[in-house]
C-alpha cells in the first residue's frame, strides 16, 4: 500500500487508504476502488449501484469536464502524473474545485514529489501518494513556505491584492 498523505485544514497527515487502485485488465476486488475513466464509463453505474465508493482516475489528456455529471456521486478523483513536469492536472484540479464545486478527494498519483506540494495544494489537491518517500511533515512544510500568494486559485488563500485592500 503506497503512502497516502491527506491535507486537512492546512495540516498534512498520514492516512489509511480505503481505496484500491484497479487497472483496466484487473478484476475488481470488493470495497472502494479507483478505476480509469474508460472503465468508469463502462462499469461506473453498476459499481455505484453496489454501494461502493468509487474514484475515477484521469490521465493528463483526459479532461475533468468528462466527469461533470458524475461528480456528485464520486468520492474521489485521482489525477495522474506520468512525469512530475506534466502540468495538465493542475488545470484539471482547478476545474474540478472551482468550476464544478467538487467536494470529494482530489488525489495526486504517479510521479508526485514534495517540491510541487504548494502548487498542488493551491490547485485543490488534498491527497497525495508521494513517489519520493516524503513525509506529511515535509509536505506541510512546503505548503507553508510562502506567507503570501499573488493570485486566487482553488484554495482559500487570500491573494495579495485582497490583503492590500483590507
Amino acid at each position: 500500500m503506497p503512502t497516502l498523505i491527506k491535507l486537512q485544514g492546512g495540516r498534512a497527515v498520514l492516512a489509511n487508504d480505503a481505496f484500491t487502485h484497479v487497472d483496466d485488465d484487473q478484476s475488481l476486488p470488493p470495497g472502494d476502488v479507483i478505476i480509469s475513466l474508460t472503465r468508469f464509463q463502462a462499469d461506473g453505474e453498476r459499481l455505484l449501484g453496489e454501494g461502493r465508493s468509487v474514484g475515477v482516475r484521469l490521465e493528463p489528456n483526459e479532461e475533468a469536464e468528462a466527469l461533470a455529471y458524475d461528480l456528485p456521486r464520486l468520492a474521489l478523483v485521482a489525477l495522474a502524473f506520468p512525469k512530475f513536469r506534466d502540468g495538465r492536472q493542475y488545470s484539471n484540479s482547478r476545474v474540478l474545485r472551482e468550476r464544478f464545486g467538487f467536494q470529494g478527494e482530489i488525489r495526486a498519483v504517479g510521479d508526485v514529489l514534495r517540491e510541487q506540494a504548494i502548487f498542488m495544494a493551491r490547485c485543490g489537491f488534498d491527497a497525495f501518494e508521494p513517489a519520493d518517500g516524503s513525509t506529511p511533515e515535509q509536505w506541510e512544510h512546503v505548503t507553508r513556505r510562502f506567507r503570501h500568494v499573488y493570485q486566487p486559485a482553488a484554495d482559500d488563500r487570500t491573494p495579495a491584492f485582497v490583503e492590500r485592500g483590507r
Binding site: 502540468g87 493542475y90 513556505r145 499573488y150
Partner: protein, 551 residues
C-alpha cells in the same frame, strides 16, 4: 516606478529561503538532478559550458539606482565583474557557483529583485516599452499592465509546469519597441470606440526552429479583464499544448495547428466559464499599481541654452544628440540611450564599474530610473536637457556613449558558443568583426538604420529571424558557418527574414555585410533605410554581390 510593499518583499524573501532549502537538498543528494533541474530553472539558474549562469529578472526592463548598484556588487563579488543584458531585458551572469546562488538571491531580495521564472516552462519576465512613462507616443503606461501580469504570473500554481516557456510583452505606443509580434502573447493598448482603454491581444508569435508572427485573436479586450482573459489563454495552452516534442511545444504551434480563429473560439469558450470577478483586479488595486508609476516633472522651457551651446561647440556631442537622444513627453526633458555596443566590445556586456556609474547618473539625472532595452542597451528615461551634456561627458568617459543606437554597429548578439551549452557557433566574434569594420561613426551614420541580429543557434535568442540582416550560426563539420537572412523586422509590418544563400564561413561574414551595405548605398533612393531598399529590390542584388566570386 513600482516599489515593493511589505507583501512583495516577504514574497521574494520566502522564495530565496525556499531555494536555499532546495539547493541544500540537492547538494546533500536528497533530490536528484532530474528532480532539481526544473526547480533550478524556475530560479533562473542554467548550467552552461564553463559554469552556472544566473538570469536575474528585470521586470519590464526597469531598475532603480540601488538595484543596478546591487547588480554591480553581485557581479563583482560572485562573478567576474561584469554582466550581460539580454534581448528579454534580463541580466545574465555567466560564472556563478550553485553554492553561492542562495546568498545571491537573498541579496537580490533585499533590493526587491529576484530570478523567479526567468527560465523553465513558466510564464517568464514580462517586457514593456522601454520608453514607458517618458514618451508622448503612448496611450497609457504599459508598465501598469506589465506589473499586473507579473504579479498574477508569479508562482501561478496552475501554470508553473507548462508545455514550454511563455513570454508576454506589452506596448502602448505606435512604435513597438518591444517586439510584441514575436511573443507568445503580445498586448497592444488601444482605445475603444467609446474612448475606453483595451488591448489588442496577439498570440502565437515566437522564433526558434519554427518562427511565427503572432495573430490577433481579440481586437479589443477591456483592460479590466486582462487577467481573466490571460487565464483562459493559458489554460487552453496548458491543456492542449503539445508535450511530446519540445520543438513543437510553444503556443505558436497550437495556434498554427488550430488556426487563429478556432484558437480564439476555444479561449472565448474557456473565458466564458471563468469567474472574472474573482480573477480580475479590483479598481483599487489597479489604481494602486498605477500610482506607483506616476512620475512628476518640473516645468521647464522646451529648449536648453546649455545644450545648444554644447552642441554648437562639439560635433561629437552633436552626433550623440542625433543618434542617442530622443524627445520626451515633458518639455525640457529627453530620453538618453546608453550604448553597450562599443565596437570591439561584447554586445550587451557591462562592467560593474559601468553599472555603478549609470546608477549614479540615474539617481542624479534621471529620477532614479534606468531602463534596459531589448536591443541590449540601457537608457535614462528622464534627463533634463540642461543635464544632457554632463551625462554625455560621464558616459563617454566610461565608454558608454558610442553614438550608434539603431545603426549598423548596434548589433544584437546572443552569448553563443563562447558561453552557451545550446549553441552551434559563436556569435560574439562575428558581431565584433562587423562592428570593427563600421567603427567610423561617419560611415555608420551614412549607412543609417540597420539592425543586425546574430544568434549562435536555432533557438534564436539573438532574434536573427527579425533582423534587417539576420545571422544564424550553424555547424558544418566542425567549422562555424553562418546563414544570412534579409528583411526581417519585429515592428509594424512584422516579417521574418529571407534567406540570402548558402551559409558562409566565419571569415567571410563581415565581408559579406560590407558587400551588402555597398549594394544598399548604391541602390537606395529618397532616404530609404536598408529595410526599405531591400523591400523594393528583393534579395537578388544582395545575393549577387555576396556570392559573385562563387562561380
Amino acid at each position: 516606478m513600482y516599489r515593493y510593499d511589505a507583501i512583495d518583499k516577504e514574497f521574494v524573501a520566502d522564495r530565496a529561503a525556499e531555494f536555499r532549502e532546495q539547493v541544500n537538498r540537492r547538494l546533500a543528494g536528497e533530490i536528484t538532478e532530474d528532480q532539481f533541474k526544473p526547480i533550478r530553472l524556475m530560479n533562473g539558474l542554467y548550467l552552461q559550458l564553463h559554469a552556472y549562469m544566473l538570469r536575474i529578472a528585470i521586470p519590464y526592463g526597469t531598475l532603480e539606482s540601488r538595484q543596478l548598484r546591487r547588480l554591480a556588487h553581485i557581479a563583482r563579488t560572485y562573478d567576474k565583474g561584469y554582466g550581460h543584458f539580454t534581448t528579454r531585458t534580463n541580466l545574465q551572469l555567466h560564472w556563478i557557483k550553485l553554492k553561492d546562488a542562495p546568498e545571491i538571491l537573498d541579496q537580490l531580495a533585499d533590493v526587491g529583485m529576484h530570478a523567479i521564472q526567468t527560465s523553465g516552462n513558466t510564464i517568464r519576465n514580462v517586457t514593456a516599452d522601454p520608453y514607458a512613462g517618458a514618451t508622448a507616443d503612448e496611450l497609457d503606461d504599459p508598465r501598469v499592465w506589465a506589473e499586473t501580469v507579473r504579479q498574477w504570473s508569479t508562482l501561478h500554481p496552475e501554470f508553473s509546469y507548462l508545455p514550454r516557456k511563455f513570454k508576454i510583452a506589452v506596448t502602448a505606443a505606435a512604435k513597438d519597441r518591444t517586439a510584441t509580434k514575436i511573443y507568445d502573447i503580445g498586448l497592444h493598448l488601444r482605445r475603444g470606440r467609446g474612448g475606453e482603454l483595451g488591448f489588442e491581444v496577439i498570440v502565437g508569435g515566437g522564433l526558434g526552429r519554427t518562427p511565427h508572427i503572432g495573430s490577433t485573436i481579440r481586437e479589443f479586450l477591456p483592460t479590466r479583464h486582462l487577467l481573466s482573459y490571460l487565464e483562459a489563454i493559458l489554460r487552453v495552452y496548458n491543456r492542449h499544448g503539445r508535450r511530446d516534442n519540445i520543438f513543437k511545444a510553444r503556443i505558436k504551434i497550437l495556434v498554427a495547428t488550430l488556426g487563429a480563429e478556432e484558437f480564439a473560439r476555444q479561449v472565448d469558450e474557456e473565458w466564458a466559464k471563468i469567474d472574472t470577478s474573482r480573477i480580475d483586479l479590483p479598481d483599487t488595486e489597479l489604481a494602486r499599481i498605477r500610482g506607483e508609476f506616476t512620475a512628476s516633472f518640473e516645468t521647464l522651457p522646451p529648449s536648453s541654452a546649455v545644450l545648444e551651446a554644447a552642441k554648437a561647440a562639439d560635433p561629437a556631442f552633436a552626433r550623440f544628440l542625433r543618434r542617442n537622444v530622443h524627445p520626451h513627453k515633458q518639455p525640457g526633458y529627453a530620453i538618453v540611450d546608453v550604448s553597450l555596443k562599443t565596437p570591439g566590445q561584447t554586445p550587451g556586456d557591462m562592467t560593474a564599474e559601468q553599472m555603478e556609474l549609470v546608477a549614479d547618473l540615474a539617481q542624479r539625472y534621471s529620477g532614479d530610473d534606468v531602463r534596459v532595452t531589448y536591443q541590449q542597451n540601457l537608457l535614462l528615461p528622464h534627463v533634463k536637457l540642461d543635464d544632457v551634456p554632463e551625462v554625455w561627458r560621464q558616459l563617454a568617459e566610461a565608454g558608454l556613449a558610442t553614438p550608434n543606437i539603431d545603426l549598423i554597429t548596434d548589433i544584437i548578439a546572443c552569448p553563443g558558443l563562447d558561453y552557451c551549452a545550446l549553441a552551434n557557433a559563436r556569435a560574439i566574434p562575428i558581431a565584433q568583426h562587423i562592428a570593427e569594420r563600421f567603427a567610423d561613426p561617419d560611415r555608420a551614420e551614412l549607412v543609417g538604420e540597420l539592425n543586425i541580429k546574430i544568434s549562435g543557434c536555432i533557438n534564436a535568442c539573438g532574434h536573427h529571424h527579425v533582423g534587417h540582416i539576420g545571422i544564424l550560426g550553424v555547424d558544418k563539420k566542425g567549422e562555424e558557418f553562418y546563414q544570412i537572412t534579409l528583411g526581417g523586422t519585429p515592428e509594424e509590418q512584422a516579417a521574418l527574414g529571407q534567406a540570402l544563400g548558402p551559409a558562409l564561413p566565419a571569415t567571410k561574414v563581415a565581408e559579406a555585410v560590407e558587400q551588402m551595405v555597398e549594394v544598399y548605398l548604391e541602390e537606395r533612393k529618397d532616404g530609404e533605410r536598408f529595410l526599405d531598399t531591400f523591400r523594393r529590390t528583393g534579395v537578388a542584388p544582395f545575393k549577387e554581390a555576396v556570392y559573385a566570386d562563387a562561380n
